[in-house]
Assembly symmetry: C2
Homo-oligomer: 285 residues x 2
């Protein structure tokens, strides 16, 4: 299993890939587009993408890319994100004049960063890449915000840990593949649909699931520019799309939703510690 | 009407404040927290806050601050956001070695930025503040991403316009005040509520509105860390909370929702050109 991810060694996405499958071979790529391309060109069997974070919310870009590329979701991973301030050996907090990280990392540590005086905040394409740059260029007046693993990989030192605004910061990642073969028994389905801009239209859409006792674990409306008569929704259903009631609910929704796409059915991430070294996560109780 | 906003002259929030009321007196503040503090300390009559962007999605931080500060929403403004690459007179695109902007601005121009080679991307606390810095420090090897107005205010030049990833980029802003007196006839209500983690709980919550023909114009679930048995939702209702059917719907929801907060009832932004120089926006047809 070779999993393409955005970033360099030490990235949170790489850690999520290894949390999912400790024996996977993570493949670093520069951008999310490149992650999709790597799977399409068979350089990787799968790709992993952050989709939602406690502080930053939904990463709309990755929903857009999933709609564009038609690579089905085959698994998910939830991971606690602990940000650290990382420096060269010998650098103290008072020496830091520049802090490098990905905009999401910077945003998640906003309160901490505002406590630093006379420090320039520099946005980069990834968290671990910032740590790598500090090491390679021996930037003794700089720090990176990245994972503890990035610090150890690049031989740097953590001088402040858990600097994110909320202690309980987690990110949900999705694993995409070329074929819609879920990596474990599927019990969750992600769909994207539109409803006409009419009173009760969303209620009608949700009724197709509620009347069949299918729970929603995520629901989010998104403004569609230039289409004032339709709303776009992302939803996660707590069911496999091949279950009879779920298949029927989706057919029912398609009767009146102007558009409906199923992005995949896959096993929901279970927080219990995993014992299997390879393959999909253990099915829950 | 004195409206506190985050940023400096030329900020998109300032433009939104003036779009709402051309005769308002905009009051710049360093952070969103400072915007709330300015209203609470009576330095400003109102505050304006970006809440949702086409590309970046919901700004969860401002929902959190509204829950924390108890300043009611009294109006909303929708504004098209056009990002520009802004430089000192004489600087060409090839001279640019650093690009400064707010992380949201950088994110919204991600595709354009990736076309620039050997350029450092620097995150700042605001878009217009980046333009101001380039002018004040005469940074001839740098550019800012900001509004056209920021360019003209600081005597800079736009060398690329509409560099955001999608042409139709808009941001919805909310105006908060000290008292729940909407700035115009209210026809929209923003609520935050939780539902128990049970199949059909959200459907039950939405039924209180659907059964009374109240439409939802936004609905978004948010993961709550450490509270696995509850989901938090943001919703916008197309109704005034003082209307009988809306008041009853909210009472109905409160019967079974573990928590419910109404953040305000206010006039929905109408896109028609405004003719009134002051006061709230014109009520729509």
């Amino acid at each position: 299993m070779r999993i393409a991810y955005q970033g360099v060694t030490g990235a949170y996405s790489e850690a999520a890939a290894l949390q999912f499958n400790p024996s996977a071979d993570p493949l670093p790529r520069r951008s999310f587009d490149d992650v999709f391309a790597a799977v399409e060109r068979r350089e990787a069997t799968h790709g992993i993408l952050p989709i939602e974070n406690t502080i930053g919310g939904t990463i709309h870009r990755n929903y857009d890319l999933m709609l564009e590329h038609e690579l089905p979701i085959v698994a998910e991973v939830k991971r606690a994100i602990v940000h650290n301030l990382i420096v060269c050996e010998g650098t103290q907090l008072d020496d830091v004049r520049k802090v490098y990280s990905h905009p999401q990392g910077l945003q998640q540590c906003d309160r901490f960063l505002r406590t630093l005086a006379d420090v320039e905040i520099v946005a980069t394409y990834d968290t671990a890449g910032s740590a790598q740059m500090i090491k390679e260029q021996n930037l003794t007046d700089s720090a990176a915000i990245a994972s503890e693993r990035a610090a150890s990989v690049f031989g740097l030192r953590v001088i402040r840990t858990a600097i994110q605004d909320v202690a309980d910061n987690f990110t949900r990642f999705l694993v995409v593949g070329r074929e819609a073969a879920p990596l474990g028994p599927p019990d969750k389905t992600t769909i994207v649909f539109t409803v006409p801009n009419e009173a009760g239209a969303l209620f009608k859409a949700l009724s197709v699931f509620a009347l069949r006792d299918i729970d929603l674990t995520k629901l989010e409306s998104r403004p569609i520019p230039n289409r004032p008569f339709e709303y776009l929704f992302y939803a996660d259903l707590a069911a496999n799309r091949e279950e009879f009631r779920c298949a029927r609910a989706l057919m029912h929704l398609a009767e009146f939703a102007p558009s409906l796409r199923t992005l995949g059915s896959y096993p929901a991430w279970k927080d219990a510690p995993r014992s299997e070294p390879a393959g999909g996560p253990e099915p829950g109780p």
